[in-house]
Symmetry: C2
Subunit: 325 residues, 2 copies
């Protein structure tokens, strides 16, 4: 029996440690009225060096550049809803991608109206566009998987806003089991077989003895989950979808003083965001989409949220958060 | 004869000194590829506290806010050509105007295609827009007056670029003649009559003697002129239109090292811009639309321009230039 045959299933390459990243980059975290403090909402999730943009406010391409992210790693943009502060960065970003010779396909996941609004602009302004732009129409009425690869699955989170809106849940794919160093040494397991064992294979010794996988490995780190919820009013229906997430980004447009106005405009207060975090048992909470009226006193949002939930912080431009520790 | 009748023509109010401003605000002066140093091209001309925007690159509304300009004084936007870096700020700016309750009319002077490209966006994203947006289609094939009021006349300057493009010439209206203080005192000219005399009236003394205006006043300051020329390749045909302008803004995308590329892409070098300034005998030159490749060494553009024309400076964001001294 050859060494290759001693593994009980087909070999898949292991993901190197540096490729196992799952990080969030905040490019903008302001609300609709622009300020000199914040850019409008834009985020980039880096899953194993593939970049996924969430919303694309005006100036997104500048934030992208400032964060030293690489345009050629961006393949998907997810637009939560068609309010201008969440999508007016699209024409500029895509023009720059065209100018820089981007190739392949870029998919824009958005409300069905997005294509008829933006396609004419792309066709006109990016005439010599070397890459394909595809729109994937998403319906925010129920949660559905809109993207999946071997690293991540992305599904929608129906939200309650003035127009059809959805958040996005990023669920990292299950990573490999941890190979026990003492067992590797004890059984003298060859290097080329270790990847398959980390993926669940048993080990068959040269004399034919089967060593069960559970004896050789420790359970894999649970896959990390990131939930993006903006814009939305307080809505407990999202809780089952985001339960236990490693990180929840929840809009916190207003403080307590504007709770009634938050409700009327289908937004949330920081305290309401923290209540959702508590009820969903998430591991950490990030607040954003700050109204311009708190531009000089955003700490009030943090204080009020902390009264409900401890592990919370305010988003800020150029912030990078490692979702998977 | 009443005092009012002693003036030989109808009274027009004088423009207070603080209202006689004619200033240029640079909000962005970069070229198509965005950098962290520059915003794309956007300018605002303040003529007697009316604001006129020239081009509207992505982030224009942020530059506008940074310059402490007032949205409610903005009534006209002039788009030189339909490349994205000169107009992608329109949706964001207009949305913010709608959000802030802007009323009245905003006129966008642009190539005829602009309306079909941007109107659908405005209609969709600014549904509760409290102001009217009107497009004035301009043809860049010959110079024509596209706006005029009692303070300023604005006409197009046909430019040579890859697509139909025009610059804009702002010509201040003739201001009043200067009333001689010694004559006011000698003839004891009443305050309420001085405005009409500054506008050319003779003075009739209480005993019926006519004092000719030329005896009472000194010639008015010549009206100031500002010429905006971007984007364009070197083009001597613009010289008769901009001759003697107080300030010429001319694009200077490249340095000498890229002269051939400048010509191929229908842009100018800094030296070519300076040659135009010399040949047109303008009083000062402002360079802008800098390629990202000079981001760390823009002084080379200034040096090369200075070899041709002395009174030149580089544009920068948040710069304000008083056109009329």
């Amino acid at each position: 029996m050859t060494a290759a045959l001693m593994c009980s299933r087909h070999f898949l390459p292991t993901i190197p440690r540096e490729m196992a990243r799952f990080e969030l980059n905040i490019l903008g975290c302001g609300a609709a009225t622009p300020t000199l403090r914040h850019l409008p909402t834009t985020q980039v999730v880096n899953v194993r060096d593939k970049l996924f943009m969430i919303d694309c406010g005006e100036g997104a391409q500048i934030g992208f550049r400032r964060a030293h992210l690489k345009l050629n790693r961006l393949g998907h943009i997810f637009i939560s809803h068609l309010h201008g502060d969440h999508c007016f960065g699209l024409p500029g970003l895509l023009s720059t991608m065209a100018l820089s010779g981007h190739t392949g396909e870029l998919v824009i996941h958005a409300h069905p109206d997005a294509e008829q609004l933006f396609r004419p602009l792309f066709d006109y302004f990016c005439r010599e566009n070397p890459f394909d732009i595809r729109f994937n129409a998403i319906s925010p009425s129920s949660s559905e998987v809109i993207y999946s690869d071997r690293s991540v699955t992305i599904s929608t989170i129906p939200l309650k806003h003035r127009i059809p809106t959805c958040g996005f849940l990023f669920e990292e794919a299950q990573s490999d089991r941890h190979l026990r160093g003492d067992m590797v040494e004890f059984y003298n397991i060859p290097t080329y077989m270790r990847a398959a064992i980390k993926q669940g294979d048993d080990f068959i010794t040269p004399d034919g003895q089967t060593i069960p996988n559970a004896h050789l490995t420790l359970p894999a780190t649970p896959p990390a989950r990131y939930a993006y919820c903006s814009d939305t009013m307080y809505n407990e229906r999202i809780i089952p979808l985001i339960e236990g997430a490693d990180l929840l980004y929840h809009e916190a447009t207003f403080a307590d003083d504007n709770e009634a106005w938050a409700s009327r405009t289908f937004h949330s207060t920081a305290r309401q965001a923290a209540r959702i975090a508590t009820k969903a048992g998430v591991k950490s909470l990030l607040l954003g989409h700050f109204s311009a009226r708190y531009d000089k006193n955003e700490e009030i949002l943090l204080q009020q949220a902390r009264e409900e939930y401890a592990n919370v912080q305010l988003a800020r431009e150029n912030m990078q958060i490692v979702i998977k520790k």
